[in-house]
Amino acid sequence: MDLRFTPEERAFREEVRTFIRENLPADTRDRMKLGHPPRKEDTVRWQRILNAKGWAAFSWPTEWGGPGWTAIQKMIFLEENLMAPAPELLSFNITMLGPVLIQFGTEAQKKRFLPRAANLDDWWCQGFSEPGAGSDLASLKTAAKLDGDHYVVNGQKIWTSTAHHADWCFVLVRTDPNARKRQEGISFLLVDMKTPGVTVRPIISIDGSHHLNEVFFDDVKVPVDMRIHAENKGWDVAKYLLGNERTGIARLGKSRERVNAAVAMARDVNFGGQPLIQDQTFRQRVAQLQVDMKALEITQYRVVSAYDKAKGGGKPDPLSSVLKVKGTELLQATTELAVDVAGPMATPIWARELEALNEPDDLLEAASAGTGSYLMLRAASIYGGTNEIQKNILTKAVLGL
């Protein structure tokens, strides 16, 4: 037992930090420092830079282009990337589809999709949730009928983030409506978004952004060889995907970046005649967040390194529910800090105005974008299994109740 970072780990962090500093495009960094989400082109450009360096497929085995990092190294890499702040790797490609293909895909499927996923030549999205199937995923209804060498898919998905950017979508469909258990009639298909019958309708979120979509499938033909794993075994694939090592699920680096942004803003706003950063109460609130972020950081290293040791590929690690709950609580607490610092400047949707008037004002833009991320991250405790569901998981898996 040695609870300190090894010299190698410290050196690795330095290497990552330096590479990001030297290679992250300035316009991307500047927009994100103000609290804006990355644009599609920011994400594509940065993932390709990382891929050229051999880091994009950070969690994949070396044979498929992974860097062969330890769990601690992966963690360090993700944290530094978020703190930069730099665009996150497209998780649909890297942490979802990639491992699934590697585990269940045919050679042809791997050869065709993995390299393009790593380089973001294909933008993938996830077709799981349905209007009636949120936390209760297994109740999904989208149907796929086998017809010769292809499936015919009909149904609707919802909350499909970035579907409007996506080239491909991995979709859970019901191939056996009569299966004994709901989980047993489900298959996992890869759908080209350009296929006739696929319609994407935007969902505008409460921050005014277009991130989510509804996706409709109307007699969409999907070749049989676009099915992953056996027919009616899609639930195993989904469980593997959802349970797979959830490194970075806490997105702690994002919370740290938000606190840094709030502290920076607090230097420039007034509180009773002095800069807000001088206010003892504000400082204590930041201190409490530092405590909570540090606690989560250590838990995170413990979880991923234990996971690594256990070689628990695919088996859901119940402790990752702790990371999800505490991580999202922090994402919400830290963006709430930023919006409280913004004060009255959080009220107008400045960014829109400023773009319109093309009058750059970093403080107002940071206030407005920071408010947007506060609003958007109210969803953090909802997506990927609500925090209520996460506690149910802990209750059963850890406490055995």
């Binding site: 209760d136 969902i203 706003v269 007034n270 400047m345 949707i349 209520e388």
Partner: protein
């Protein structure tokens, strides 16, 4: 103490509620948002016909002669419907300024016009550098013959675009943070040198930045004593806090009803989510927050006419913190209990969430008032 609404108050609430029921469904509201004004001038006239625009004004000025309780009840109904119209800025803020400091001519000229719906107003006090400090004013008013000239800029003025007349604070003396030397002026929105840049707020309502360059104002348009505007501003802010507290109560009621209804209809794992104890207790907590918040709105309401300045400021601070925290808790919980649908623009709950978020930082936020209360601990 008597918490029962009077017969008149019951009738007032009934009529407002009926009208909003007919005219202010969430879908109808969307159409008002889409209008160039960002609200419905037609609805504004209906408010006038119902006498709502004169609630806090004396009958001699065409008012309803109502008290703070009446305003609270109206704002509660408006909070439930997420009313977009410039009621707060016109009737509550500017109205209070005139009630408190207006001379007979000013009242006679303005209050009846407000009450009949022909005059909309805004209250332009906040400046960017001030954040929440009421004394932090750098806009200047300089003597010019028999009148004054205003220079400076005001920020996030609620309904600044819609206003025909604007109550503007400016320094006639003293330095940036001084309590003395602030004076209020009645400025025509159309006056030379007034430039307004409007924008939409997170709460779907319009606000504006207002630039004042060499704006001429006559002596007759000085509101209250020259150099002694701060006490008026405080009364206006206190009235605003009480009114928005009532509005928050209405918003909490609406969110709690929506969430309760959703919990009965949304089925997951074979049962309505309202059948799960954790959801039930969250709803119980939301209900408790609503009721505790309602008490705080009552506290603000019963305080604004208290002649004891220190006691009034203390109670208003307590109320502002309590209602803001209740509103934040209920709106965050309402979104969480709704799940994905609560995060969407098409669904009402997110709009209530954002209105509460905006109200929380109108006239100062909880940290600001807790700080004030902490200073009194001894």
């Amino acid at each position: 103490m008597d918490f029962e609404p009077s017969e008149d108050q019951r009738l007032l609430v009934e009529s407002v509620t009926r009208m909003l029921g007919d005219t202010y469904g969430f879908a109808q509201r969307k159409t008002y948002m889409a209008l160039p004004e960002g609200y419905s001038p037609a609805i504004w006239l209906q408010f006038a016909e119902q006498g709502l625009l004169g609630v806090p004004f004396a009958e001699e000025y065409g008012g309803f002669g109502g008290g703070a309780e009446d305003v609270m009840l109206v704002m509660q109904a408006f909070g439930r419907a997420l009313v977009l119209e410039p009621y707060l800025s016109t009737v509550v803020l500017a109205g209070t300024a005139l009630n408190v400091a207006g001379n007979l001519d000013q009242k006679a000229a303005i209050l009846p016009a407000i009450a009949e719906g022909s005059l909309k107003m805004a209250f332009a006090h906040s400046e960017r550098q001030a954040r929440y400090d009421l004394t932090d004013v750098v806009t200047t008013a300089t003597r010019n013959g028999s009148g004054w000239v205003l220079d400076g800029s005001k920020t996030v003025v609620s309904h600044g675009e819609a206003a025909d007349k604007i109550v503007v604070s400016a320094r006639t003396g003293g330095d940036r943070h001084d309590s003395d030397g602030i004076t209020l002026f009645l400025v025509d929105a159309s006056a030379a040198g007034v430039a307004r840049r409007g924008y939409i707020g997170r709460d779907d309502t319009r606000a504006a930045d207002i630039a004042l360059a060499n704006v001429p104002v006559s002596d007759a348009d000085v509101l209250g004593e020259v150099g002694n505007g701060l006490p008026i501003i405080q009364r206006v802010v206190e009235a605003g806090i009480a009114a928005t507290a009532g509005e928050t109560v209405g918003a909490m009621e609406a969110m709690n009803e929506m969430t309760l209804e959703y919990s009965k209809t949304r089925v997951q794992f074979g049962n309505p989510i309202g059948s799960y104890q954790v959801v039930q207790h969250r709803l119980a907590d939301m209900f408790m927050a609503q009721e505790q918040g309602r008490g705080m709105a009552m506290l603000a309401t019963m305080s604004i006419d208290n002649p004891d300045d220190a006691a009034r400021a203390h109670d208003i601070a307590l109320a502002k913190v309590g209602i803001a925290q209740a509103g934040r808790y209920v709106s965050q919980s309402a979104v969480q209990m709704h799940g994905g649908i609560g995060m969407t623009e098409e669904y009402a709950v997110g709009h209530y969430f954002r209105r509460c978020m905006v109200i929380e930082r109108l006239f100062g936020d909880p940290a600001y008032y807790l700080n004030r209360l902490a200073a009194e601990v001894a």
